[in-house]
Structure formats: C-alpha cells, structure tokens
Symmetry: C2
Subunit: 215 residues, 2 copies
C-alpha cells in the first residue's frame, strides 16, 4: 500500500517508516526538517519530502491509501495536535480513502477501579507540568475524532511509558490503560509500529481508538 507518514522523523514516525518498508509498502515520509529526513535509511520504496502537514491538499492526501499522523510538537504548541486532526478531517470529509491513523497519547485511556482518565494521574506528577499540555491536547484530539463519522479514521494509544525500542510481543486493548504481567505499562516505538502496520493490513478497528502495550 501507499502509506504517507506525517512526522516521519520522530520516535514513532521513524519506527513506522522502518516497519512499513520492511513489509514492502510504498512510503512517503513527511517532516519539517530536511536534515532529519536525510537521516532516514535510503530505500527504493521510500520518498521523503519537507512538508508542512497543515498545508497538505486533499489531492496530496488522496494519493495515499493510508496517512499516519505521527506529528509531534513542543508543549507550548500542543494545541496543534488538535488542529492537525481537525485540518485533516476537514479535507477528507465524506471520503473513505485515505484511511487516517492518529497516534494518540496514553492520557485519554481509562485506569483504576473507577476508570478515571489516566491524564488526571499524569497531572498529579509535578515532573509532568512541563509536558502536561501534550496528553491534555491528545485527549481533546480524541474527543474531536469520536464525533467524526464520515471519515475513515482510527486512533492508537501507547501505554503509560512510550519509549524508543524494538518491537516485542504485545497486548491490545480498547480504552483501558494496559499493564503487562510484571505490572509495567510501556510501549516501545517498534511495538507501536508493528501494531499499526497490522491494523493497516488487516483493519480491526473503525472510527475508534485502540491501545497497544509491550507484553
């Protein structure tokens, strides 16, 4: 398939580029930095392009079967997570192709006996103040997407600790924060990439969000 990846040079994005190429898909890697794009391993199936994701046209989006939003930004601009989602959705209303895949944070997952939003736990950690706007806005992004019924979208949340690393066996869930048998809640970028490529090749979720964690 033709897969366009927004934010292709970030932690999630670069793992997605690698996994998509490993599975012989045709990948267009978009990012704002030419320098970072040049660091992606050369591959005949890979095209790189310096691109402001907000300026993608419906026609450009329509050349792909799947567009993955792996956009990341500074906490002071966290609202752009919401704005890029609304921007992409507005350009693809009443279409079924491309499928949009949004990487969301763990903050919008539920946890505990009372199924509270995990972002409320994050907010209690003083060390999280500097980046709290990111999970807060990724929750808003999901709130927006849940009202979208005429675009082909799916969202994916990692577990509490989303970090670089190779793929491992993994657990899948829907709206509850996942923990493995050792009570760890973590997802490596490699695992996220495998779970997303599995979902792209064999869609199991439609206009909803699922979650993946390292087993």
């Amino acid at each position: 398939m033709k897969i366009t990846i927004i934010g292709a040079t970030g932690m999630a994005g670069s793992a997605l580029v690698a996994e998509a190429l490993r599975r012989c898909h045709t990948v267009t890697a978009l990012a704002r930095s030419a320098e970072k794009l040049a660091q992606l391993p050369a591959n005949p199936q890979l095209t790189t392009k310096v691109q402001d994701a907000f300026a993608l046209t419906p026609e450009e989006l329509g050349t792909a079967d799947v567009v993955i939003d792996a956009f990341a930004t500074a906490p002071s601009l966290a609202f752009q997570h919401v704005d890029l989602a609304t921007n992409l959705v507005a350009k693809l209303r009443t279409t079924t192709t491309p499928r949009l895949v949004f990487i969301l944070g763990a903050g919008s997952l539920r946890t505990g006996d009372d199924h509270h939003l995990f972002v409320t736990d994050i907010a209690k950690d003083p060390n999280a103040a500097s980046f709290l706007s990111i999970p807060q806005n990724q929750l808003k992004e999901l709130n927006f997407l849940r009202d979208v019924d005429n675009v082909n979208w799916v969202g994916v949340s990692p577990a509490a600790d989303f970090h670089p690393g190779e793929a491992t066996p993994f657990l899948l869930g829907n709206n509850e924060l996942l923990f493995n048998a050792d009570h760890q809640s973590e997802t490596s970028a490699g695992t996220m990439a495998v779970a997303i490529l599995d979902e792209i090749e064999q869609p199991q979720h439609q206009q909803t969000r699922f979650t993946v964690a390292n087993k």
Copy 2:
C-alpha cells in the same frame, strides 16, 4: 467596533447586520453570493464581500474586533458547521482578538427533568429527518469548542423554534432549553441579534455557550 459577519445574508446574519449597523458598529458582511449581498441595505458603515469563510486568513480575521459565525449550509454538508469552527479556531490560537461568536442550534441544549439533550427529541420527529444533521453537527461544534481554552470564543443557542422576526423582550439562560410563560420555546432572528450585540458590547460569557429566547 469592527464586526465581521460570516453568513451575513442568512436569517440570523442579515438580522445581525441590521442590528450592528443600528448600533453604529463598522460591519463587514461576508457571504458566498454576490446577489444576496447586494440585497443588504446600503450603509456607509457596511462593507460587503464575497468570501469563502474557510479561506479567511488570520490577518483578515485579525482586522475585526469580533467575528460572528452565522454560517448556514445544506443538511448534506452539515459537517461544515464543525469544520468552519475548527478552521477559525486553528487560525486564532493563542489570540484574544478577534472574539469569535458562534451561533449554535438548540439541539445541544438540555431539557426535561432528566436534562437530556434536546437533539434527541428532534431526532424522534419523523419530519426532522431531512435536517437532523444540522443540530447534530452543531452539537459536535459545541463539543469541540468546549475543549478550546486559548481562543476568545462564545456560543449562542436559540430556543427550539428559530425563525425570522423582529426583536422582542427576551429570556437568557445557559444550557437549558428556554420556554416563555406561554410554554413557547422560540427565538426570532431579531432577538438573537440583539442578544449577540449586547454580549459583544458588554461581555458576560467567556468560552462558554448561552441561550436566548423570546419572552
């Protein structure tokens, strides 16, 4: 003040143009149809412009103190109510001027002893099937706006029956559908215009929605 009105030739928009001019504001009336714009009464304080509201630039928006979204569209394109709100918000993030005023439907108001959404009552009326998408999407629009905390916005909902007509004395509320002493739930476009101009001149609501009904 400088007031830009999107959808200035519609039922709500044309009443807003008249009321704003009556109060000696400087009005820019935007609409898609030059023919309909030409039907607005000439006034030295009024500028008309054929304009796709989705293509307004941040700079164009920034020339106004207040931008009123009185956009209306066909039920088949009702999602554009959401998309125009997300578009305007994205262009005005982290600003306080212009203030954005959104005319929302009555469907997002609560009613009855159980405070259910009025849109669920609308949905039970077989005659509403042809336009149900409008209140449904105006509810989604409000859902989106309620997550926006870094743009200066306010929303206004009419009562159940929103119709042309002169301003009357009126009732104000927040999230509950309003009825007058005769158990009528109605808002004339003139009343809506007066309530909005009052709110513009003397802001009482911030990043929230209020409602107005004919007394």
